[in-house]
């Protein structure tokens, strides 16, 4: 907005998340708040839905624009690109109009490899998007079929290469590993494709069978075996080895990046920074207060159309809850947790050190505890031990 911020008020950083609750089809493992057109009645229109999101952006701006500067924006879903570049750019422009947006802001959108083409990527780049994240999951046809992904093997690599030629500096590919039926070779080929695509960021998640999903029902019926944790552990190590050798470094248990390739938006989550989630079911956090929006797009649209807050509920965190969240989120990151910040007994820390689940490092001149690779796979145990 201005070159010299007022010396009296330094704007606080703010992250914005925009939730697009639409998908062309539902993947069997997915429990996100997203809807296919057949799941929605006629009263929710996809082609004008961005107007509702912009309405909430206006609400947020009234509260926060005066003393916040937006430095990351993330469009997630769902499949944001289903709305088309034009709608996404309109939302992006609305944010620009209402807020002080850092000129170097990171602006990411998620995308399905088969929902973008070169022209759309060009349009998004021109609209101010700086980063794109594709749900590749795997390059193995059998794995994609089990996950009920609609894209074809090879589509992700092509989409990533197209994004880079459109000028996207930062491109992420998401992988899912440990899917029943996936072999080590399947995963190695997926990693080959990731590396050939020349991206600077990889997120890799072990397949989780979420209750209520089609996948969970298939597992329950015995059609698909439950993913095996030991296999998942092996695959994690395989991924970490390959990515590390290719110049990536882990910065959170499920995320690897090349230098300067880290996702600043996600880091904001993990540092418990301020963010506002726009859209149905989106969560927000401001200084120890969390709230979340009504989940259904229709209810959401009704609320914001009536100029009402779409908030469904909120919680105000007690100091010990904030401390627990800081531990829970911070410990998963490579920057670790300063030992001085921990209130647990030394015995717990010593036990984890002895088990080689954590190691001590000097970070920013502070004695810091960081997960070892073995510890990354047992991060929840480490956190529970330190939280006790």
């Amino acid at each position: 907005m201005t070159d010299a911020p007022s010396p009296a008020v330094t704007p606080a950083p703010l992250s914005l998340y925009v939730h697009i609750p639409f998908c062309a089809s539902r993947c069997g493992y997915c429990d996100f708040n997203t809807y296919t057109s057949t799941e929605l009645a006629d009263n929710v229109r996809r082609d004008t839905f961005h107007e509702h999101l912009i309405a909430e952006i206006n609400q947020a701006a009234q509260q926060l624009a005066a003393d916040h500067r937006v430095d990351t924006i993330f469009f997630g879903g769902g499949t944001p690109t289903l709305l088309g570049a034009n709608a996404l750019n309109q939302i992006r422009t609305a944010i620009q109009d209402e807020f002080d947006v850092d000129p170097n802001a990171e602006v990411t959108t998620e995308a399905n490899p088969d929902s973008v083409d070169q022209r759309m990527l060009d349009d998004l780049k021109h609209g101010g998007f700086t980063r794109i994240s594709f749900g590749m999951q795997s390059s193995a046809p059998n794995v994609l079929a089990t996950l009920e992904r609609t894209h074809t093997p090879g589509a992700s690599k092509k989409a990533a290469l197209d994004a880079r030629s459109a000028g996207f500096e930062h491109v992420n590919l998401d992988l899912i590993y440990g899917t029943p039926g996936e072999s080590d070779d399947d995963l190695k080929r997926s990693l080959d494709e990731v590396l050939e695509a020349g991206v600077d960021h990889v997120s890799a998640y072990s397949l989780i069978v979420e209750p209520g999903t089609a996948l969970a029902r298939r597992v329950q019926r015995g059609e698909i075996p439950m993913p095996d944790d030991d296999v998942a552990a092996d695959r994690y190590e395989l991924i970490d080895d390959r990515l590390t050798a290719a110049g990536f470094d882990w910065y959170e248990v499920s995320n690897w990046a090349k230098p300067q390739g880290e996702c600043r938006h996600n880091i904001a989550y993990w540092r418990n920074a301020a963010w506002w989630g726009i859209g149905p079911g989106a969560h927000s956090h401001l200084e120890g207060r969390r709230w979340w929006n009504v989940k259904h797009p229709h209810t959401y649209a009704q609320r914001v159309s009536a100029d009402l807050s779409p908030m469904q509920d909120e919680e105000v965190l007690a100091p010990e809850q904030r401390a627990l969240e800081n531990l829970m989120l911070g410990m998963r990151m490579k920057q670790g947790i300063p030992r001085a910040d921990l209130e647990c007994e030394d015995q717990a820390i010593d036990e984890l050190l002895n088990q080689q689940l954590i190691e001590q490092a000097a970070i920013n001149n502070q004695e810091t505890l960081v997960l070892t690779r073995k510890g990354r796979l047992l991060a929840d145990h480490v956190i529970r031990t330190l939280a006790a």
Binding site: I208, D230, G277, G281, H283, E315, M328, L378, D380
Partner: protein, 620 residues
């Protein structure tokens, strides 16, 4: 105090002054659900002691738990004045009997208070094993049996078939079997007349020193212990002080009376009469079923026969799931004890389960009832260890000990072990004979005999170790016979057997709650089954955990819980934070409920799951 019959006022024979010739003492022998309580209700109505309006269904069953399970735990007696066909007034004392296998002794005392019994059988189901056992008990007591088929109004009733069956069992004519519907009242008046006609009047010496037999003893919050008695000889009056002949204790009588169906105080009880006494004692142990009451002054010198101390046969450790509930459990047991002379318990500590009580029960049903009452009436969540029986162990050096808890089984050289055995009766449709024989053989049973009760119903008699029955025998029997078999058993002494203790070790540490005494031939099966089950139930730890089953120092089975390698949520983004934090908070709470066995964290749920399905031993 009077009732109008045919326009003529007829006065009830007053309690305490009823001619023995006008008294009929009887009980109803019936299986669960065969309609005993409904029949009793109908009798109360027909004799006019309860009117239609105040009729509470199944008046005689007091406690909820009895109502729900359809069984009667505690017997009571109701005095029914009845004008018979001859125009004279009779006093019918209906003595209610407990109807289940664990209460055989109590049943025998109720029977001993009667001269006759109505054998009540569901006309759609036929006689069941417990009914048969109680019938034999009644015959041993020389009771006049009146066979009755109930529920003849049901479409599925087969009165001809089951009348023939009853006739065959009792040795009467099928025409002698009465047919009633307690529900509609059909045939009940005729039954009452038959009671008057066939059941002998009580006989006793009115001038002899008083002797009355206690056939029930119930704790009442307001009155203290209410003791139900049948006077055999002499008379007990309100001014007497009474002597309990087994304990030698003397009590003041605060009240004497009859139940009709509410308590009615009286001046006394004479020969043949049935009623209640209140002395102000607070514990049913001071007024024991089967004991003889006499007067403190000029009393009888010889007690009536048949008294027995209640002897627990089945033992189990009861532990509160929440350790802080221990005092609640203690108080609850103290309360239940007031009304349950057979319940025994003493404090016990388990490495795995914390503080609890080792409890002794008459049998499995008794255990279940006590456990349910503790959970329901005292709002307790309990873990109970697998039930076991009482063992006699003789060591090589001649030392003898009694083991009621597997963890007390001695380590040294054992010369011999004895276990209790029972005589079991199973009644079942003949098509299931093969599978039930198989089951009984697998449970170390010896066939004593087999009889066809009718064309397609068989009575099988077995000797079985009690320990084999307290596991899941009844469930197995039911599932193998699609629910059609019924079981009864009575203790029948002890036998020597080749028994060993199997310990379960977790990471080298024995888990006391899982130790079990089993037959040598089944030790391996038990060990393997338990190790496998625990492997499934105990979450993986940071290190490898061997689970071993051992007899003494010999390892007979082994499973390994591999060290956990992955325990991390893959995704943790903005929307996941609250959910994840709440999960973590819950896990922190859950950690408090973890029990440490050595270094191994075992969730309480694993103990509950491992102990609750006690079907591991010798299932196949």
């Amino acid at each position: 105090m009077s009732q109008q019959v045919g326009g003529t006022p007829v006065h009830k024979a007053a309690p305490g002054a009823t001619e023995p010739q006008a008294i009929r003492n009887f009980c109803i022998i019936a299986h669960i659900d065969h309609g005993k309580s409904t029949l009793a209700d109908r009798m109360l109505q027909i004799t006019g002691v309860v009117d239609e309006r105040s009729m509470r269904a199944q008046y005689l069953d007091r406690m909820d738990i009895e109502r729900e399970r359809g069984i009667t735990i505690k017997s009571q007696a109701v005095r029914l004045p009845y004008i018979a066909g001859d125009g004279r007034e009779y006093i019918l004392n209906l003595i209610d009997t407990p109807g289940h296998v664990d209460f055989t002794y109590e049943v025998s005392r109720s029977l001993a208070a009667c001269e006759g019994a109505v054998l009540l059988v569901d006309a759609a189901q036929g006689i069941e094993a417990q009914t048969l056992a109680n019938l034999y008990l009644a015959l041993e007591n020389d009771l006049q049996i009146i066979p009755v088929l109930n529920k003849i109004d049901l479409p599925a009733a087969q009165p001809e078939k089951y009348a023939a069956e009853l006739a065959h069992i009792i040795g009467c004519s099928a025409d002698d079997v009465l047919k009633v519907s307690a529900k509609t009242g059909e045939g009940v008046a005729e039954l009452l007349q038959t009671v008057v006609d066939l059941i002998p009047a009580p006989m006793g010496d009115a001038n002899a020193p008083a002797r009355a037999m206690i056939f029930d003893s119930v704790y009442d919050t307001y009155r203290g212990v209410v003791t139900y008695v049948r006077v055999i000889d002499g008379r007990i009056g309100t001014r007497d002080r009474i002597l309990m002949m087994s304990t030698g204790e003397v009590h003041e009588l605060l009240e004497v009376g009859v139940i009709s169906p509410e308590p009615i105080p009286a001046k006394g009880l004479g020969v043949g009469e049935v009623g209640y006494l209140i002395t102000g004692v607070k514990d049913v142990r001071q007024s024991r079923v089967g004991d003889t009451i006499t007067t403190a002054v000029k009393g009888a010198t010889e007690a009536l026969g048949g008294y027995r101390d209640p002897k627990p046969m089945v033992f189990s450790g009861l532990y509160p799931i929440d350790g802080s509930d221990y005092p609640v459990l203690r108080d609850a047991l103290d309360r239940l004890k007031l009304n349950d002379a057979a319940l025994q318990y003493e404090p016990e500590t388990s490495v795995a389960l914390g503080f609890g009580f080792r409890c002794g029960f008459l049998g499995l049903l008794h255990l279940e009832i006590v456990r349910e009452r503790l959970e329901r009436e005292f709002d307790l969540d309990l873990i109970s260890t697998a039930p076991n029986v009482i063992y006699g162990v003789r060591m090589d050096d001649g030392k003898e000990l009694v083991v009621t808890n597997p963890s007390e089984f001695p380590e040294g050289k054992v010369a011999a072990v004895t276990e209790p055995v029972v005589r079991a009766t199973v009644i079942l449709p003949s098509e299931f004979v093969g599978t039930v024989m198989e089951l009984c053989q697998a449970r170390r049973g010896t066939l004593l005999g087999m009889d066809y009760l009718s064309e397609d119903r068989v009575e099988m008699r077995y000797t079985l170790p009690l320990a084999e029955i307290v596991f899941d025998f009844f469930d197995q029997l039911k599932s193998r016979t699609r629910g059609y078999a019924s079981l009864d058993y009575e203790t029948s002494g002890e036998q020597e057997a080749d028994l060993v203790k199997v310990d379960i070790l977790l990471h080298g540490d024995p888990v006391d709650a899982f130790s079990s005494i089993v037959h040598k031939d089944k030790a391996y099966t038990y060990g393997v089954a338990m190790a496998q089950k625990l492997k499934e139930l105990i979450p993986r730890q940071q290190f490898e955990v061997p689970i071993q089953a051992a007899v003494g120092s010999r390892i007979i089975a082994r499973e390994t819980i591999r060290a956990i390698r992955k325990d991390v949520l893959a995704k943790c983004y903005g929307g996941d934070v609250s959910r994840k934090r709440k999960l973590l908070e819950k896990q922190k709470e859950g950690k408090k409920r973890m029990k440490m066995v050595g270094r191994v964290e075992v969730p309480q749920e694993a103990f509950i799951a491992a102990l609750s399905t006690s079907d591991t031993a010798a299932k196949k």
